[in-house]
Amino acid sequence: MRRSLTFLIFAALALAACAGVLGIRPHDQSHPFEHRAHATHGVNCVDCHQGVATAGDIEPLHLPTDASCRGCHQKPHDQHSCLGCHGAQYVREGAKLAREHLRFEHRAHQSATHGDCVRCHQAVAEEHPETLRPKMATCFGCHEHRDEWPLRTCDSCHKDLSAEDTPPTSHLIHDGDWLREHGVRAAGARDLCASCHSERSCAGCHGVGTVPALPAMLAFDEVPLSGLHRAGFVARHSMEARADPGLCTTCHSEDSCQGCHNREHVGPTTTSRSPHPPGWITTGAGGGDHGVQARIDPSSCAGCHGGAGEQLCVGCHRVGGPGGTPHGPGFRSNRNKTHDLPCRMCHGAGL
């Protein structure tokens, strides 16, 4: 029974995966509207988009209806809605989003453009336009917004930029190895980041106790190639940490490993499995590999042995203890060794 169910699930998923290739998925019959053909036949934009020249910020979109088309095309070739095929749905969706997110009045632009719509809507001349909305660069051709750039205020056009959730085509694109690069890029440009990204963009990864909200956990069905914590991260994590010492600490607190390790019974208690290889701690000179590895990436040690677990180290490495001094080359500190943490743990009581 269980095998049959597993087979059925896999067969259904395989069929679903191939649906597009097999032709099960219905093809979208729509195509970009033939703006160029209409313009070359002398049809003015406002003949179909009636009322758009006097439209304000809140009026409807002034998209043509079937009745507008039948004004000229009196014998349509079938009875379906004209806009079902003529004009791509995503272009109309783009116009709706623009109405929703932007402060814009067509009527305010009539005198400057002398009623020439193509001056801004340049893409209507293209055969397969991605969008008919003017690009931001077109707006900046007239509206320089010089005073607003330094203050990162986009509100004169964008009602709520962070809610738009739309990467602008003519603006900053997060390409390359952005996961690694974003920190250094954001350091001097927090205002720029904040003009599109809200608080949750940072908190989803950089917050405390965010594991349930990590993109790899929450958006498991979205499978981009980038993302440190994606795929088999649980298997890789110790090697990822060793390959880039300190990297984990840039986001995680020093005790963030303990929750998982306790659940998986990996840790220092007698009933747990040790993650350390043979020869980690030995008696005699050198004391095994643990000293060298701890100096290379002390944050890995702190992940499990931080807090109260530090007493494990103090037992041997306190002043006069058998472990000797833990301070390696390059160690300098401004702390008072008998009063401040962590110095007093080993140097306390006049040691």
């Binding site: 998923l13 679903a16 995966a17 597009g20 998925r25 005073d147 330094p150 205020t153 390409d175 390359g176 690069e181 250094v184 890029r185 350091a187 001097g188 205002d191 809200s198 608080e199 949750r200 940072c202 908190a203 950089h206 917050g207 405390v208 909200a213 498991f220 069905d221 499978v223 981009p224 980038s226 795929a231 088999g232 298997a235 090697m239 060793r242 880039d244 010492p245 300190g246 600490t249 840039t250 998986e264 590895q293 701890a294 100096r295 290379i296 990436d297 002390p298 944050s299 702190a302 931080g306 530090e310 833990p326 390696g328 160690f331 500190s333 401004n334 702390r335 401040d340 962590p342 110095c343």
Partner: protein, 340 residues
Amino acid sequence: MQPWVDAEALVWGGAKPSVTGDVLVLALRLRDPKGHAEVRGGRFVLATGAIRPVQMDGAEVTLRAPWGSALESFGGTPVVPRFGARPYDWLAGGRVSEKVGVHAILGVSYLQRRADGEISDHELGADAAFAPARWLDVAAFGAYDLTSPGIADARVSAASRFDKFRVEVFASELSPGRLLPATSLFSVLGDFPSETVGGTVKWLAAPRLDVLASGAGQDVGGGLGGNGWLRATLRLDDRGEGNLGLELRRVDVSTAEWTGIRGVAALPLGHGLRFSTEVEVVVPDHPVGNGIAWPWGLMALAYRSRSGWEAAGAVEASSTPLHAYETNALVRLSRRWEAP
């Protein structure tokens, strides 16, 4: 909400193994509509200049001058999960920045953080961003530890775009001991920085095909190594809703030596349905009894309704050093509401 105020909350809840939840964001932002002054309060992630991101309960004030100067000041308590609290934990600091011409921003930052009243982080930082030409961006920051004097974290990145390529060179130096709180016993082990120098190239090989390659040399505690990866993404339609991807990766640093391959596929099925799958195989050079390869795979089906509801389900299977075989079923039901 209004041009001068916005509020945001992000809360999660779960039931594994017991009912739990937390507040990630609960923030209110007030600002002068002209952008000259801004106050942020509540729970949020503070990240500015060379100060590493820290989630805090507190407030931040930002003042900006029209000529490009800005002053940020903040104070509060670091967040403890699930509204816990630690007495005498607090942090405070600020950043001053200046825009130089139209091509550069320079900033200086300061942070002091205390744990149980004792200094746990005490850093001075500097950051800079230059765009001297349309084809070149350079950004850098460095944080200097004032408790154990030395560089805690420094990074620089320079990127250039031309034709169908984007090339980035980067370098970083991290001192893991200085990234830990100064109150940690593990912060006293000495200065063994981890240094990395590398580059990344992105090539738009075809309108729907991106190829990305990256390689870096590393000096980890005196041991030399390196890592590199090659990644290709093919979009199956102009909008990228369907895509195929493949990644090859090799890491050879310190005691981390492994090779990995990962593939992803996402296919829109129409009617709001979307199928996606992701497969990875990691082959460690020294498996030490934990299996010669660690495979991981996931198949997911998601549905998005026109009313805003989303449902997704997935089956995940893997073999890890801890478990020879493990399967998980994942389900998500979500709905997005937005206040006017």
